[in-house]
Symmetry: C2
Subunit: 216 residues, 2 copies
Amino acid sequence: MRIGVLGTGSVGSTLATRFAGLGHDVVMGSRTGGNAAAAAWAEEAGDRGTAGTFADAAAHGEVVVSATAGAHSLEALEAAGRDNLSGKVLVDVANPIADYGPPIRLDPVGDDSLAERIQRTFPEARVVKTLNTVNASVMVDPAAVPGSHDVFMAGDDGDAKATVRSLLQEMGWAAGNIRDLGGISSARGLEMYLVLWLGLAGSLGRYDLNIHVVTP
Amino acid sequence: MRIGVLGTGSVGSTLATRFAGLGHDVVMGSRTGGNAAAAAWAEEAGDRGTAGTFADAAAHGEVVVSATAGAHSLEALEAAGRDNLSGKVLVDVANPIADYGPPIRLDPVGDDSLAERIQRTFPEARVVKTLNTVNASVMVDPAAVPGSHDVFMAGDDGDAKATVRSLLQEMGWAAGNIRDLGGISSARGLEMYLVLWLGLAGSLGRYDLNIHVVTP
């Protein structure tokens, strides 16, 4: 599959590396295109990876992953270009962190979410929120945390969610651990969970953690 | 132990019944004191339970549980009386739901929490946030959900948290499943988690659910 990854930070590069390793054809996009991190990544990725601009990555991808810092997501997506996103599966893995704190501050929070903003701004993209509830190393390798634990999806387009589900399964997420919460507004809970996640990470002294939903 | 429970709804009465069943001496408080639900509860509780006003319950308790709807917590605590709360372990189990929606709306959300508001308003109370992340039936009987799953605490007073931990253990929460997230501001994450919890409940079609935190 052709995948465009927007963002060259640890989340973007970890995802891009994993997708390339799975045999996908990946373009990592950055603001300037001449980004050193993206160039180094492409060098290492070999045949399966290329560096380019946000627009290059979005034009390339059947699936486009929004993996910049959440505060810059809309700006990066504007640079990627409306036409390049139209009809695409747009995977939003970011958290809308306005201030890392402590205390951390999210924006939006409560009655809106980053994922909904993205969907409203790019109504022809098929936005799926996922993976924002775990750190990069767990995103691409759920076995990094032992036992059963879950990843979540929210989005309005069922076909887009099916595509994302399949990518998650390729990365090792078991079907029964991929929980579809419903429409894109369900992203609110996934983004607000970040505050609890950070509290857990702080109290445990580690970031490789996740939650498992348990019912009778 | 003498416990005052503020609130006669399902959370208040479920907790009050459980505390009485464990042998504690419980007063359930309501706004008017002549509340029918509280009277019926006291009738059923027998020796271990009495109905009264918010002030009666707070004056009685070594531990006072704030179990009204979150939107009314501060008002109920004002009625309970500052002097009756001074020095007490004040257990806040409520969620600050401003509008049940859908979509649900919390107030405060983001840069404040109900628990912090309570602590600021009653600086001489020793506030501990806990149990707000599960429904009433799971609060008092964690075995209602099989396997390992967790309950959280946040509060500034270590001794108060030790008292709460002991009450949680009496109700069946294993020591290793009681996770202390730190100071009272950690209540933000616990309260914002409600939105994810509701999304999970909606997608699973049940409220008897909980999460287990998993690490390597």
